[in-house]
């Protein structure tokens, strides 16, 4: 069985405890306006990244492309993505890495083998994290990755949005040391507005997962102007109180990477992204203080 991944990032230090290797799986069912990995959203195997400032006008891509997607008009490189079939011939021909291919099909064994190369750096608590996209859109592949990592004796974490049928988790629960659950918005209507789906099923699944004794950390992206509201922070706090076995909640201040990446991958039409100014450290501290004021167990370091 092969899976679609777009990157294995080593020395990941924000996706669970310790030093980790994060495997980013491709494909997502949500359309969060603040997504910072837009290239992970389409379910197809690969994306073509184009960085115009690296182009030296050598026109190798024009010759390589069988679909006429690349051309030069008045000396300027034009990439007509309508004609692109993601064959990646242009990326292979491009000498400057102005055009590159992201995403590939691979076997779980191959992925875990690469993850294990860093084993000596994982220390006591580091290991592998699955992220995306939404890893659970490829449930069998994810289950295999987690099982292989667990068998090799390293810590496993799964970052997931829980917006799917709970039974999908049946084969992964036993091999996941930590669930990183994205809690994006507490108000169901706003959740639909911001991500395309309601959060009701997510909340239900979260409670069930907690009830089964799984280790869970809530991860809450805070987006200025969207969900940096007291009622949302209060709900986050309430969740950590209602579910005493939660490791806690982590507030993740928004960072403005996604919108730039959108154009790089030609995904502007996929969904409307927001482009905001990154919050300051004091704003982040204020959110943390607010949630703590409601009795929330917030794990952010001061």
């Amino acid at each position: 069985m092969q899976g679609r991944i777009f990157e294995i990032q080593h020395f990941s230090v924000h996706d669970g405890p310790g030093i980790r290797s994060t495997v980013f799986l491709k494909g997502c069912q949500l359309r969060c306006k603040w997504c910072h990995n837009p290239e992970s959203i389409p379910t197809r195997v690969s994306e073509i990244s184009y960085l115009p400032n690296r182009c030296i006008g050598c026109r190798r891509c024009v010759a390589a492309c069988g679909n006429g997607a690349h051309s030069f008009r008045d000396g300027i490189h034009v990439f007509d993505r309508e004609k692109c079939t993601f064959c990646s011939a242009c990326a292979e021909a491009c000498p400057t890495r102005s055009l590159t291919k992201l995403g590939y099909l691979t076997l779980p064994e191959t992925v875990v083998e690469e993850v294990l190369r860093d084993r000596s750096y994982y220390g006591d608590d580091g290991g592998m994290t699955l992220s995306g996209g939404e890893a659970m859109l490829q449930p069998e592949f994810s289950a295999a990755l987690l099982r292989l990592a667990r068998e090799a004796g390293i810590n496993t974490a799964l970052e997931t949005n829980l917006s799917y049928d709970y039974t999908l988790l049946d084969t992964v629960k036993c091999n996941t040391d930590l669930f990183l659950i994205d809690w994006k918005e507490s108000n169901p209507e706003k959740h639909r507005e911001y991500t395309g789906v309601s959060n009701e099923r997510i909340r239900e699944n979260l409670a069930r997962l907690h009830g089964e004794g799984c280790r869970i950390l809530l991860r809450c992206p805070i987006i200025p102007g969207y969900n940096d509201r007291e009622d949302h922070l209060k709900t986050i706090a309430d969740l950590t109180r209602e579910m005493p076995d939660l490791v806690g909640a982590e507030l993740l201040p928004y960072h403005n990477l996604g919108s730039a990446k959108n154009s790089r991958f030609g995904l502007e039409g996929l969904f409307t992204t927001v482009s905001l100014i990154n919050p300051t450290e004091s704003e982040t501290r204020a959110w943390v203080a607010c949630a703590r004021g409601f009795g929330g167990r917030i794990i952010n370091e001061d």
Partner: protein, 830 residues
């Protein structure tokens, strides 16, 4: 982070230390100093013409110490300074300087020959221009201005301008310098001063020992012992004289508290002039004065190391603490004084200090002083001393944690050293196990054994990229500045360590033909030709070693150093002439490994596998410096796998090449040379200077650009994060890393913030050590800060960075060296 950088001493630093810190930094800021070493030594040498070299050397040493001005500086708690030997002088206005620089460059332009462009400049950072008659910042400004004026139409390259200006703006000491060079004058350098012996015997003890030998020795050893006695007596007089100066200063001081301090210094000096030190303060005072003398008696500064300070000072510390004579805070303030004074003008060489590691019997050596030594780094954040923490299997967690927190202070200190590599390698190389356990980083990252080795002696440099070019040229290549050899031409010349390798009377290199293009029709054949060029270049190590020995035996001597280093007094032989317990480390430096490996991978892919061009065409492209073929250059640069990304194929190639180099080096040991031939992948500043003299490479590197630094990847070509980069580095066999090595890691501070960040950093370092990493040093600063510091230097006066094996203020670095650090991959983004 960015705000912290602008104000280094904002910590709860003792107010007194802070005043001393500011005083020293102020003295470094703009002033120019001129050495009186040459006039003092010259006067003595003129009065001893006709006497033996060693006697003249000893007498001149004594004359230097007897006549040097002894300065007393404000604020300091331990007394003594080199400042008396280096008075401040007035310099011409900047307008005059600029006119002078223009004339120098114009003159050069008129007489310029093509080979001049291949000369390597040296003064890549402030302290190297030791006898400059201009402040380093002003020199940099002149280079910048002249570059803007003469480089615009490619008339001159920046490094040529740098070369002629650094040569020109240097003090001329005339006839005195000639006399000094003719002797020749050598002083213990690239070594330590064997502090355990100094502190155990005291100066009086060393004098008595020498006097005893003079009475009861073989006649042929008599001169050596007499000279040692002359040196010991001169040291005693020097310390006594200094005690007198401090007594006078105490009497003249109106502030009663300060007067008492000066008196305390005077009393300690008077005591340690002859008697053994008994307290921490006395030991430190003696240590400092003897290191000051060492610095005074070398021609262009000595990087004598404090070596294992936390080991030999600990008994004094413990006794004082137990007796209630000293508090921890007082000890910390004294250590801070030592550190700050190490940064005084003309003292600030790459002076190292090593903590932790193992005791000679294999136990853990970490103690309270190790802790205070690192605490002082946190408080001061100055470039010197160059501090290392030795790591072994039983290094306590508190030391690990403290090392990590200190690195996070962002001054590049401390570096980490791995006992599992160095102790093992020295022991396997023939050193006694207890001695091997006393290793330390001398200067930058040159590993030596405390108090026991004659010298760090450069034998040969190889430039891996250049070897590849030689294969392409079928051996006929001589464009590398460091391989130029002056024929001795029958004229008897005296060679000194400051001559560098290029001027030693080594045999002229011979050309080895390794095949025409047509013969190198597979990558394996090309690689074999590369290997043969490598072995060829190192084939004459034994001959070179013998030439070094002859020069040492006939010409070099240092009675002061011989008093200190173990073995010399027992054997009755000078440090340089076989006296030391261990003969010199004979060093073969290998540079630009990453650049060469990447280039070989590019050749393999594009010439041999994909055949998009043939070898001849590649050679033509390189000769053209890729002119008109930017697409191919880009392809070579981006299209082949590179070292530093945990690629098995690439890393295996690096391991093989390094293995050949280590084997060719070790061949000298198997042939039985005097001393111990070791490898050194430490590039110092050569990643820039050698790069400037190296032609275009198949990995898309243009002519004159930087080459990879030390054992690391090409700058910016490690793209898969720090664990991958470090895994590539540890793919090289640790057993082959026998003398010096350094690994630069540039970490973005944001990525390891807070307690969790510290924990992750520790896991990263521990993983590297467990994999057999030999040395690691971290630049803990983000690239945007470095760029800002380059454009607005005044706002970043206290920004310290790790360069190769040493740290320096960013402002004190040559523009190109700043660029090299900026170009290194920053790990932890995205």
């Amino acid at each position: 982070m960015k705000t912290e950088q602008t104000q280094a001493v904002n910590s709860p630093l003792d107010a007194r230390v802070k005043r001393l810190f500011e005083y020293v930094e102020e003295r470094n800021a703009t002033a120019v100093y001129r050495s009186e070493f040459f006039s003092l030594v010259g006067a003595s040498l003129r009065s001893t013409l006709g006497e033996s070299r060693m006697v003249r050397r000893a007498k001149a040493f004594a004359h230097l110490l007897d006549s040097v001005n002894l300065a007393v500086q404000p604020h300091e708690l331990i007394g003594g300074t080199i400042a008396g030997l280096y008075p401040e002088v007035q310099t011409p206005s900047s307008a005059e300087r600029e006119a002078e620089a223009r004339e120098v460059v114009e003159t050069y332009l008129r007489s310029r020959r093509p080979e001049h462009a291949k000369r390597m400049r040296q003064t890549m950072y402030g302290r190297i221009h030791y006898h400059g008659n201009i402040h380093y910042r002003d020199l940099q400004n002149l280079i910048r201005k002249m570059n803007a004026r003469y480089n615009s139409d490619q008339q001159l390259q920046r490094h040529e301008i740098g070369y002629v200006l650094e040569k020109h703006f240097t003090w001329d000491f005339g006839e005195d310098a000639r006399l000094v060079g003719e002797l020749p004058w050598e002083g213990i350098n690239h070594n330590d001063l064997n502090p355990p012996r100094l502190l155990a015997l005291g100066l009086g003890g060393m004098r008595d020992e020498a006097a005893g030998y003079v009475k009861n020795c073989d006649p042929e050893q008599k001169e050596f012992y007499e000279c040692a006695l002359t040196a010991a007596e001169a040291l005693i007089r020097f310390v006594q004289r200094y005690a007198g100066e401090f007594s006078l200063a105490a009497a003249a001081e109106k502030n009663a508290a300060r007067s008492a301090e000066l008196l305390r210094i005077a009393e300690a000096m008077r005591k340690v002039a002859t008697r053994k030190p008994e307290t921490f303060f006395e030991a430190l005072q003696l240590l400092w004065l003897v290191y000051t003398v060492s610095q005074m008696q070398t021609v262009a500064g000595s990087c004598a190391s404090y070596a294992r300070f936390d080991q030999y000072m600990y008994p004094f510390y413990k006794k004082d603490i137990e007796a209630g004579r000293l508090t921890e805070d007082e000890a910390l303030a004294l250590i801070c004084n030592l550190y700050v004074k190490t940064n005084e003008p003309k003292m600030r060489m790459v002076v190292s200090l090593c903590v932790g590691g193992q005791t000679p019997d294999g136990g853990d050596a970490a103690n309270d002083l190790s802790r205070l030594c690192l605490r002082a780094v946190q408080l001061l954040r100055q470039p010197f001393p160059n501090v290392s923490v030795r790591i072994h299997d039983n290094t306590p967690e508190w030391l690990w944690n403290l090392a990590v927190e200190t690195i996070k202070c962002g001054s590049g200190n401390p570096m980490l050293l791995n006992d599992n590599v160095w102790v093992k390698n020295f022991h396997r190389g023939g050193c006694e196990l207890a001695d091997a356990r006393d290793y330390y980083n001398m200067g930058c990252v040159e590993m030596m054994l405390m108090g026991k080795v004659a010298r760090w002696c450069n034998l040969q440099d190889i430039n891996f990229p250049n070897l590849l070019q030689r294969v392409l040229d079928n051996g006929n290549r001589d464009d590398m500045a460091i391989n130029k050899h002056s024929a001795s031409g029958g004229e008897e010349r005296i060679y000194t360590s400051t001559d560098g390798l290029s001027n030693f009377p080594f045999p002229a290199p011979t050309v080895l033909a390794t095949g025409e293009f047509e013969e190198l029709d597979t990558f394996d054949k090309f690689l074999d030709a590369f290997k043969r060029q490598l072995y060829h270049q190192l084939a004459d190590l034994k001959e070179r070693s013998t030439i070094c020995d002859r020069i040492h035996d006939e010409y070099w001597c240092d009675p002061f150093g011989s008093l200190l280093i173990e073995g010399c007094m027992e054997k009755g032989r000078d440090l340089y002439r076989g006296g030391a317990k261990y003969d010199p480390w004979k060093v073969v430096t290998g540079l630009g490994l990453g650049t060469a490996v990447d280039s070989l991978m590019a050749l393999k892919k594009f010439v041999y596998d994909e055949k998009i061009l043939d070898l001849r065409q590649m050679k033509e492209l390189l000769d053209l410096d890729f002119a008109g073929h930017e697409d191919l250059r880009q392809l070579f640069q981006n299209g082949a796998p590179t070292f530093g990304n945990d690629s098995e194929e690439v890393d295996a190639l690096a391991r093989r090449i390094f293995g050949w180099y280590a084997d060719a080096t070790d061949q000298a040991n198997r042939q039985g040379i005097r001393g111990y031939a070791v490898t050194s992948s430490f590039s110092y500043t050569a990643q820039v200077t050698l790069g400037e003299a190296t032609g275009a490479m198949p990995n898309g590197r243009r002519r004159g650009e930087i080459i990879s630094d030390s054992i690391g990847p090409s700058q910016g070509k490690d793209m898969c994060g720090p664990t991958r980069m470090l895994r590539s580095v540890t793919a090289i066999n640790p057993a082959d890393i026998t003398g010096a090595s350094s690994v630069n890691l540039k970490l973005n501070p944001d990525v390891v913030k807070g307690a969790q960040g510290s924990k992750n950093m520790k896991a990263l370092f521990k993983g590297f050590m467990a994999n057999g990493g030999s040395q690691l040093q971290v630049n803990f600063v983000d690239t945007s800060t470095l760029k800002a510091a380059q454009s607005e230097p005044d706002k970043y006066k206290s920004l310290v960075v790790r360069v190769a094996g040493y740290c320096e203020y960013f402002n004190n670095l040559d523009f190109e060296l700043q660029n090299e650090i900026i170009a290194r991959s920053e790990h932890g983004l995205g």
